[in-house]
Symmetry: C2
Subunit: 419 residues, 2 copies
């Protein structure tokens, strides 16, 4: 079968399965999730054996240690996948919720019903556990899924797919509700993102290059996560102790995460007092510091920042520091150089915190809290499919709700429209 025919078949099967999933009961979806957990449990030896093939190929291809680590499936990672499935089963089902049914002057009653998006295509890196994360969230939200993992994880993903299908069949759900592509042909991704008749939304996960390429070529809406170039602004009316804790946590909790602070902005009136303490703490943690000329005149160990630094998500123990004249300058800097992901203000001033929240154009705005909290679990969603830096549809951490839509429903009693 040609790739074209194969993908069309996958698409048709997904669309047909999505119709059945849209009306599946909560109980049935939960049963499938738990049956998948059982199937993974039983398949443990096979999962590890298939993963070993991928690991072997990866080592031959010379993948670096970080990539090999992400590729690895061991008992503890399989435990994690099983635990994840059980957790998703305990989450409230968002589908079918009816809200806002109000009577209108014409006599009709109008409101909204929450429904699945339909078919979700997910393109992701060579991390086999993402297969289960993605499949479980899409299933719980009533969506059929087409999964395309990184080619290095091919055998692992196929083995996981077998367990997933066993779970679906055990719960009497369509086996095509979750389909893992059985090809590593790159053209398959190109086709997947240009089948609007079969796919309602694409969620790309992985590197910026992949996400940009997919956004560029897609003919289907994309829920995308680009940079997390996050800021903390320390106001002249900040509580110094809170400011210190928040700035340190935002940068040093973990360096490779998208909600880490990449630039620190500090008001000129408190820089001389607070910056040296912060600089010492960062240096103690091994954070490389660059900054504006003013900051260098306060702390001579800071290196000169270039224009590019302000735009950069380091993903590393490196931080850019800028002294600003007032909050307005901080807000303008954040809106210009930032990536509209997550930004924080530390201030005790009521009016300024309100203005910062209103004017900073980011998916998450923190007041006197670390940027680290921008996360689906910390926000109480119980799960996360990603963090969106788009303004359309889902913005910020995306949980089950981001995989749903709302349709209007109208109740009448023979009502017709006159005008």
């Amino acid at each position: 079968m040609s790739l074209e025919s194969y993908m069309n078949q996958i698409g048709q099967q997904a669309r047909a399965a999505s119709r059945l999933l849209a009306k599946a009961s909560t109980q049935q979806k939960n049963m499938a999730l738990l049956a998948m957990a059982d199937a993974l449990q039983s398949a443990r030896p096979r999962l590890i054996a298939e993963n070993e093939k991928d690991m072997e190929n990866g080592r031959k291809k010379g993948l670096d240690d970080a990539l090999l680590d992400r590729l690895l499936l061991n008992d503890s990672r399989i435990d994690g996948m099983i635990e994840g499935l059980k957790q998703v089963a305990t989450l409230p089902d968002p589908i079918g919720e009816i809200s806002g049914m109000v009577y209108l002057p014409s006599g009709i009653q109008r409101g909204q019903m929450r429904v699945p998006l339909g078919v979700v295509g997910i393109v992701y890196e060579s991390r086999p556990n993402v297969t289960i994360d993605a499949a479980s969230l899409c299933l719980k939200s009533g969506n059929a899924t087409i999964l395309r993992g990184g080619s290095e994880a091919f055998y692992s993903n196929q083995a996981i797919a077998e367990a997933v299908i066993k779970g679906l069949i055990a719960a009497d759900l369509p086996e095509h509700a979750v389909q893992v592509l059985n090809t590593t042909d790159r053209e398959a991704v190109g086709k997947l993102i240009t089948m609007p008749e079969f796919v309602d939304v694409i969620v790309p996960r992985g590197g910026r290059g992949l996400i940009e390429r997919i956004s560029q070529d897609a003919k289907v809406p994309v829920i995308k996560h680009l940079d997390g170039n996050c800021h903390v602004y320390i106001d002249d009316e900040a509580d110094a102790e809170k400011a210190f804790k928040i700035a340190l946590n935002a940068k040093t909790r973990r360096y490779g995460v998208c909600n880490a602070m990449e630039s620190l902005l500090i008001h000129k009136a408190v820089a001389a007092e607070q910056l040296p303490v912060l600089v010492s703490a960062f240096e103690e943690k091994g954070v490389e510091l660059v900054g504006c000329e003013l900051s260098r005149s306060v702390c001579s160990s800071i290196q000169t920042a270039t224009e590019d630094d302000w735009f950069t998500e380091y993903h590393a123990p490196k931080l850019a520091i800028k002294i600003v004249s007032d909050m307005d300058e901080a807000i303008a800097h954040i809106n210009h150089y930032g990536s509209h992901h997550t930004d924080a203000i530390v201030s005790q001033n009521y009016t300024k915190t309100r203005a910062f929240m209103t004017e900073v154009d980011s998916a998450s705005v923190m007041v006197n809290a670390s940027t680290s909290f921008a996360d689906g679990f910390e926000y109480g969603f119980g799960a996360e499919i990603g963090i969106s830096t788009d303004k359309i549809h889902a913005r910020g951490p995306v949980g089950l709700l981001g995989l749903t839509s709302q349709k209007y429903i109208v109740f009448g009693d023979g009502h017709t429209r006159d005008n």
Copy 2:
């Protein structure tokens, strides 16, 4: 100035204006809307004179009567624009609303704030009054707007733009909050829809060709409205009188609207009794009827429907009729042939109406009410920028809320994340 530079300048000005609009007070935005109404009032002779240039050019170009009618600005249309501005001023301001602020185990309090999208680009047909509709809705929702109307309305739109700018200045809002492009170069649209750095969303209005072209080429999210191929399904447990009223209203209230019924589906058990009455009524109104073989055996005046008929939005006094074996067949037909716009069931059966609502994959689903109600005004939004047939972001009639986004806000008190 090259077109490229001109569009970049427009984009930069819009982005800068959007920052100021995002923090404009409700009062200030309403003041601007009322000042625009005053400015239109004062500019009446100029508006009519400039419109006459467009009409003259249109007549020379041989535009047909329908197009010339849409292009015309007369006193009553200017009254309509003024009235529209006043109505938008009375609508509640959606911006700044904070909702769902809940405490989470970490101690942070998390919720959402409703914010403008930023910059909205609108591409529309040669109907000058749309300039005011679009500008007023975007302004009220705190968005900067870039408007590109049809080239036949060039002089009218420039004159309207002058009044709009007067209103903005009178309310001390940035004059670039609403920008009407002063070029009829088609390349300007191509550029507008590919400037994601300056434009957050595009709303195309007009013919299907325009919308498809824009969706195809855009590098910015598009809120689009494609076909309205709407259905009414008359169940075997329908109240015959309600069914008759609803079907007649859905088809014959107006023929050229997107929420008009294009196909009627009727259960085989009641077709023999109800279809002849309906067919007579439709024929009396001059509606051309095509249908399936079964329907033709019930009413011989029905002509044979082709496969294409089921996919077609006639926008005309023409209707396709199909007799179905049960509700499931009706739902499958609607999901396959329909355009996911608006579909209705007429039935007294509780279980079936619930299933129809759940399973029909459309932006609006009506129970015992005419499809004609799918409309922003009828839904109580007070205004409408369009009707979306997308599932992402805005679905169905789009009012002010569809021009907004929600960002997460977090309140802490020095909170940091440990794990």
